[in-house]
């Protein structure tokens, strides 16, 4: 009698794969399984909480600035603050971040000033000349195009035998692009020190995940590239931090790339130019508010007596003060001279463009 394994026309199974799901803290703040070691560090957990709160306050202010004509189009992180904060918190300073346009939280964690982020969204390239780690990449706008670059960065680390890791962040939509697959495939071939993080917030502007992929998970896309993909509760900052820590450590240790699918939800519009009510129901969004990362961590921290009402009030005041001060510095930034658009076009500006620069400056010799 044929075994069950042989049932499919007698063809043997030659490979099977599995995808793990990581989650520690439930939406109500209760614990689902033993927390990773770092979670006993109240200082670290509250730092993660503070960073998420700062990001939410910053987002709120940025939207207000945009609505009053003082900032350009802006992409909010509302509902998915845990991903960029959790991932960045697991990186070392000498690692290199290649973020997408919605990863403000990661940049802020890594030391980029709030006013620099405002400058970028306010239409000034000086915002990308930021004071975070100098080798970090600027926000990537063409979706997923930073992935091959991350593989290049990681290849440089490997060639120079540097114990550094490239961390590449993008959204669920980016996983539909060849760029991301080409990068992951190459990283798998060369066991590069790179961690790919897909923030699956369920919506690529108006296109829901079910129209984005026929896959059960995005994490399984790593399997085709020859390495581990893990699904993580992206609204649980402890899970994100733990997954990123493990992946970055493995990459640094020469074990090759990892892929993290952070499953979360975009509670806000895609950008300030978008109206999400056109394509999804208020009921859907309302239901998702019950899972959001900040309330979740607060419930846990309060339950553990790691966080108090007084601390909460003090944090609110601090966030307000920090954001307002940054806005003040942003608004007070002197505009650049128009001809400065040529300043970093080439290392040495060719004479033909130097002439255009003089024309723009009104030097009148052209």
């Amino acid at each position: 009698m044929a075994s069950k394994k042989m049932a499919d026309g007698g063809l043997p199974v030659i490979a099977r794969f599995e995808v793990r799901h990581r989650n520690y803290i439930a939406p109500d703040g209760s614990i689902k399984r033993p927390l990773p070691a770092f979670a006993s560090d109240a200082g670290l957990l509250t730092a993660l909480y503070r960073a998420m709160m700062l990001l939410r306050n910053f987002d709120r202010k940025a939207v207000a600035l945009q609505r009053t004509g003082r900032l350009g189009t802006y992409a909010v992180s509302l509902g998915q603050e845990a991903v960029s904060v959790g991932v960045a918190s697991a990186m070392r300073e000498e690692d290199v971040l290649l973020p997408s346009y919605r990863d403000n939280g990661a940049l802020i964690w890594r030391g980029v000033k709030l006013e620099e982020i405002l400058l970028f969204w306010g239409g000034d390239e000086r915002g990308n000349c930021f004071s975070g780690p100098l080798e970090d990449f600027p926000f990537c706008v063409p979706v997923g195009s930073q992935a091959p670059q991350a593989a290049g960065v990681a290849y440089a680390f490997k060639l120079r035998k540097q114990p550094r890791v490239a961390v590449c962040m993008f959204g669920d939509g980016a996983t539909s692009k060849g760029d991301v697959y080409e990068a992951m495939n190459f990283a798998g071939v060369h066991k590069l020190p790179v961690v790919f993080v897909a923030t699956n917030n369920q919506w690529a502007i108006s296109v829901p995940l079910r129209l984005q992929t026929g896959c059960e998970t995005l994490a399984q896309k790593a399997i085709a590239a020859g390495f581990i993909g893990e699904e993580v509760d992206g609204s649980d900052v402890v899970a994100i931090r733990a997954a990123a820590e493990a992946a970055i450590a493995a990459a640094r240790d020469g074990q090759g790339p990892r892929f993290i699918e952070a499953v979360t939800y975009r509670l806000g519009d895609h950008t300030t130019s978008d109206d999400a009510l056109r394509y999804r129901s208020a009921d859907e969004v309302q239901a998702r508010w019950k899972e959001e990362p900040i309330t979740r961590l607060r419930s846990y921290l309060v339950g553990q007596k790691m966080w108090s009402k007084a601390q909460e009030e003090q944090l609110a005041a601090e966030c307000h003060e920090r954001v307002e001060a940054a806005v003040e510095r942003y608004l007070a930034t002197e505009p650049r001279r128009p001809e400065s658009m040529f300043d970093h076009l080439y290392a040495d500006l060719p004479e033909v463009y130097a002439a255009q620069r003089r024309e723009l400056a009104g030097d009148g010799d052209v």
């Binding site: 600027p138 670059q149 760029d179 290392a347």
Partner: protein, 326 residues
């Protein structure tokens, strides 16, 4: 000094650059043990190892994106795309990242990469192997576009491209990869970028071209001697940014200009040069600027491609007409 072909000169320059600078990395499809489909990278992997001469998966977008990431880390990647028809997946990285990362980050990150690819028609290749869309690349701010036309210039300009702190697309004229031979002194000396080369001096008409088409252009200049016409021939060499001063200086002297390129006419780089002359040298002109170009059609496959490309006859006719204009 020894006589080498153009593709051998490319190989010499790559070897020299890798020898001089451990940050130079060569990558592309089949560049390793196979030495590249045109043998431009032959022997490099044996000499410098598989980590610095890297066979990539078959993914052109990846090659260009890897170059951007490596370059941002201070390596000097030299990517090879096997044919220009396969360069198009790289455009996103070239336009959105390589050419503007310095500008976007105000100099915090830079992109000292080179992307090499064979350029042009006339080799009886399959579809998509005979592209000459250099104008598309020359339109991109922040990029350099370089096309050598001889072994000597292939060697010197490629060394310059690799040492340049900004991204360069290096277009190698496929048709004369082996047909062009010349003396190359492998002395590690670069030629200047952004500079046109006057291949032949003349007082009557300026002929401007680049890459493989200089072969026909020089032959045209030879033929014009019988008519008593002394043509000045300019090899533009760097298309972005290009040497306006040499072009304008020559036209001021001759008063007549014929631009020769095999790329299609509309929006071709000849249009840019003609516009420059109209703006800045109109009063020197004794005849309308003429363009001898490929026709506005897809480059035909082998049986018709020679009819699309400018011939010596078309160049001579255009130059005569310019000289007879009154």
């Amino acid at each position: 000094m020894s006589e080498v072909t153009l593709v051998e000169a490319v190989n010499l320059a790559l070897a020299r650059a890798m020898e001089d600078d451990p940050d130079v990395v060569v990558l592309g499809e089949d560049v390793g043990i196979n030495g590249g489909v045109f043998r431009a990278t032959v022997g490099l992997q044996a000499r410098f190892g598989p980590e610095r001469v890297l066979d990539t998966p078959l993914a052109e977008l990846l090659i260009s994106g890897l170059c951007v990431g490596m370059a941002a880390q201070g390596l000097k990647p030299v990517g090879e795309i096997q044919f220009m028809g396969f360069l198009y997946p790289c455009i996103d990285q070239l336009v959105n990242h390589a050419s503007r990362i310095r500008n976007r980050t105000q100099g915090r990150l830079t992109c000292p990469m080179v992307l090499r690819t064979p350029h042009g028609a006339g080799i009886r290749a399959p579809e998509h192997h005979s592209e000459s869309t250099e104008a598309m690349l020359a339109h991109i701010p922040g990029l350099r576009v370089v096309i050598p036309s001889s072994p000597e210039r292939a060697y010197g300009l490629l060394l310059a491209a690799i040492r340049d702190p900004d991204p360069v697309v290096f277009l190698e004229p496929t048709r004369i990869y082996r047909a062009a031979k010349g003396e190359v002194d492998d002395n590690g000396e670069a030629l200047p970028l952004d500079v046109a080369f006057v291949l032949r001096e003349g007082r009557d008409v300026t002929l401007i071209s680049w890459g493989a088409m200089l072969k026909e252009t020089m032959a045209g200049a030879d033929a014009l001697v019988a008519d008593g016409i002394a043509a000045e021939v300019i090899d533009l060499a760097t298309l972005k940014p290009y040497d306006e001063a040499t072009v304008l200086g020559s036209v001021a002297k001759t008063g007549r200009c014929v631009i020769v390129h095999e790329a299609t006419r509309t929006g071709g780089f000849g249009a840019e040069i003609a516009a420059l002359i109209a703006e800045r040298a109109l009063t020197s002109l004794l005849a309308p600027v003429a363009r001898v170009t490929g026709y506005d059609t897809v480059i035909p496959m082998a049986r018709l491609e020679q009819h699309m490309m400018p011939s010596v006859g078309r160049i001579v006719t255009a130059a005569r007409k310019a000289c007879q204009y009154s």
